[in-house]
């Protein structure tokens, strides 16, 4: 394990150090005093584990292919942007546009997430990206979602708090959303419908929920107290009939 103290360091220098270490074959890197450093793990296509103490900056793990990143703190905007593979575990909250166009890998957030999370996430062949959120999500959750799995647990919500914001699943045309609890119809985009879970869903959920419980030391019984609902798009081609040939 290599430890890098990021205090007072520019992001570019920090990321260069990380890239160098990984290419030298270092398998585990611990970054301490991280304070807003952007692009950590950006484009990282090798197996490596990065542990971050502090608050990483925007675009954490953008274009990442296979590494594992664990954040002991909050993450900011754009985490897992266009990520293709790997795992991110965030022991705090994450903010806007988490998992934008993500195509592979898994992201676990212990707490809440911001706006536009999982926007345009897509699955492809055996790539099935997943985001698991422990708390609640903001508006435009899973907008344009084209594939993959999004799970929101709503743990620790106040009785009057909503699990997702407005326009959830607007333009969605693929993938599955699981929400633990209920969602008001007016919060949903008009392209999605609420359906009940099948046995297969329960199996799929099990794996992700067990991981969540293991990563964040949460008791599975706590999660199982409340049933999930499932959101699916009506159609994989929501805009198929909009045009007339000139």
């Amino acid at each position: 394990m290599q430890t890098i103290d990021a205090s007072g360091m520019l992001y570019r220098d920090l990321n260069e150090l990380i890239r160098d270490s990984v290419s030298r074959g270092v398998k585990e890197i611990r970054l301490i005093n991280v304070n807003g450093h952007r692009y950590i793990g950006d484009g990282l296509a090798k197996e490596a584990s990065i542990i971050i103490e502090g608050t990483p900056g925007n675009d954490l793990a953008a274009f990442m292919e296979g590494a594992r990143i664990e954040v002991h703190g909050n993450a900011q905007d754009g985490t897992a942007n266009t990520m293709n593979g790997g795992t991110i575990v965030i022991h705090g909250d994450a903010r806007d546009a988490l998992g934008y166009s993500m195509r592979g890998g898994e992201v676990y957030v212990r707490g809440d997430v911001g706006y536009r999370v999982g926007i345009h996430m897509k699955g492809y062949q055996d790539m099935n990206p997943a985001i698991v959120v422990g708390g609640k999500a903001g508006d435009f959750f899973a907008e344009y979602m084209a594939g993959g799995i999004m799970i929101v647990l709503g743990l620790g919500l106040a009785p009057d708090e909503d699990i997702v914001g407005n326009y959830c699943g607007t333009g969605m045309h693929g993938g599955i959303i699981y929400l633990r609890g209920e969602v008001a119809p007016e919060q949903l985009g008009k392209e999605v419908k609420v359906v009940s879970l099948t046995e297969e869903d329960t199996c799929v959920l099990d794996g992700y929920l067990d991981n969540y419980c293991q990563y964040f030391k949460v008791k599975r019984e706590e999660i199982d107290k409340k049933p999930f609902c499932k959101l699916l798009p009506y159609n994989k081609r929501p805009y198929g009939n909009m045009y007339a040939g000139w």
């Binding site: 274009f63 266009t82 198929g240 909009m242 040939g245």
Partner: protein
């Protein structure tokens, strides 16, 4: 209930029966199923409603028996309610659909290139004969430093990454999906042979094209289709697509019908789903956010590749370009309102954006005023129709041009504007394997190369005529340009004098 269509055929097909030998080439060639052989009557019948006037049957008819002309059938003359205006309403009343079209804006707006004249040397500063004297067209695209520090003949600081072009012409972004793999292979091979670049558009990079990586600009658009680490590493440069001249401000989507296996694998989306590119990048809501994506891409590729940002030419393009330069882009690509497309809403294509000539002049002027012109290279497109347009563009301030419609014409496109149907009879804008194989990539590459070489020679001739022996000396040299038939205001925006001045 389906409504009876009031739309009459746009074209008439005239078959010279004396010439027609009933060989059925027209029947086999037309993907729109216009021509049909009636066995009983031993006759070929043409259903004109489906005809898009792509000229495939006309060109391939061995006896020259076919002519396609505009349908002379006319509504009562009306300068306000033209036949096109009426037709649009009939179509929309029948379908309720947004009118969709292909290729670039075809409205009779002024083409400013045609109102600009080039200079030539006479007596003083004699002209140069490019056949006998060296003539340099080599162009470097990328950020240039404010100053160079040289010690003992060596550069003290590494230059930012540059693209090296043997001639200031690149093939503009066209995705696999919007055009066939054979069309892309043609352009990729031509780019490699002539020392320039082709651009993937937002369709990803097909596995057969990785061998052309050194001549590839890989695009990252709002849908992020086919974007992954190897893809970013494969290209010589990365282009962030913000906008496109044919449809500024809106996204795009490739209909599920065109997402067959190869397209699906390259875009990394399931077969048959619509590939939806949202209008904005959802991680870019400001210049600061754009900077973030630029640097995210630079970090992902170790600062080894120039990053281009492509925008449509719109009203405030100069201020936007200044922001893009300050956001850290190495290249700004600007696409004028005549830029082509595989599919765009008709009203957007024909009514949104500004001419590239004005946009280019405004951006170059603004970046010079702000003393940041050296920080970015300017590439313009939409539309460049010939080598004279290129020479004028460079004199107005462009570093290089992007061509796409011209390149497709070279491959055999006949401008029927029906790219969005996927039934391109010339094998270009289609994913139908039967149609796509009509375009042989080797012959396509030869045509595209020939075009580049012809234009290269013409550019050299024009430069030589001006007494200039390097394209660098023409760049932003607006004294080489004069306007004709332009207003004071137009001349002022273009920053050129009137002919005779």
């Amino acid at each position: 209930m389906s409504l009876k269509s009031y739309v009459t055929p746009s074209f008439l097909i005239e078959r010279n029966k004396e010439r027609c030998i009933k060989c059925k080439v027209c029947v086999q060639q037309c993907a729109n199923e216009v021509h049909r052989y009636d066995e009983e009557d031993d006759e070929i019948i043409s259903e004109e409603h489906q005809c898009v006037n792509c000229q495939r049957c006309v060109t391939l008819c061995p006896t020259g028996a076919l002519t396609i002309r505009k349908n002379p059938n006319e509504l009562r003359q009306n300068s306000n309610w033209t036949a096109e205006a009426v037709r649009a309403i009939y179509i929309q009343a029948e379908t309720g659909g947004i009118l969709l079209t292909g290729m670039g804006n075809d409205r009779p707006y002024p083409v400013y290139w045609d109102n600009i004249l080039l200079n030539a040397s006479q007596v003083t500063n004699p002209s140069i004969d490019p056949l006998r004297e060296p003539m340099e067209l080599k162009t470097h695209l990328g950020r240039k430093p404010d100053s160079l520090s040289i010690k003992e003949g060596k550069l003290q600081k590494k230059l930012p990454p540059q693209l090296e072009l043997e001639l200031p012409i690149m093939f503009s972004a066209m995705s696999f999906g919007s055009i066939s793999l054979n069309a892309i292979k043609s352009l990729a091979e031509a780019a490699k042979q002539e020392g320039t670049y082709f651009n993937t558009g937002e369709g990803g990079l097909h596995r057969d094209l990785y061998q052309y990586g050194e001549n590839t600009i890989v695009q990252v658009a709002s849908g992020r289709f086919g974007v992954h680490a190897d893809y970013l590493q494969a290209g010589a440069a990365i282009e962030i697509k913000i906008g496109q001249g044919a449809k500024p401000g809106i996204g795009g989507h490739l209909p599920g019908e065109k997402v067959e296996r190869e397209v699906s694998e390259t875009r990394m989306i399931p077969e048959g789903t619509d590939a939806i590119s949202p209008a904005p990048h959802h991680d870019i809501y400001s210049i600061e956010d754009l900077r973030q994506l630029i640097y995210s891409l630079k970090e992902a590729t170790n600062y080894e590749k120039p990053v281009s940002v492509k925008i449509a030419a719109v009203h405030n393009v100069a201020a936007i370009a200044s922001g893009i330069a300050r956001a850290g882009a190495d290249i700004i690509a600007i696409d004028g309102y005549r830029g082509g497309t595989g599919a765009a809403p008709l009203r957007i294509r024909d009514n949104v954006g500004i001419p590239i000539e004005f946009a280019l002049a405004a951006v170059d002027t603004r970046l010079r005023q702000e003393a940041i012109r050296n920080q970015v290279s300017l590439v313009v497109g939409g539309s460049i129709r010939n080598s004279a347009d290129i020479v004028k563009a460079i004199a107005l301030g462009a570093d290089a041009v992007y061509i796409a419609s011209s390149a497709l014409l070279a491959l055999g496109c006949h401008m029927c504007q029906k790219c969005y149907t996927g039934k391109c009879n010339w094998g270009i804008a289609t994913q139908d394997p039967q149609l796509a194989k009509r375009l042989n990539p080797e012959l396509g590459a030869q045509r595209a190369r020939n075009l580049l070489r012809a234009w290269k020679h013409e550019i050299q001739e024009m430069l030589g005529g001006m007494g200039i022996n390097a394209i660098e000396s023409l760049r932003g040299n607006r004294l080489m340009l004069r306007g004709i038939g332009l207003t004071e205001k137009e001349l002022q925006i273009l920053g050129i004098k009137n002919a005779g001045e």
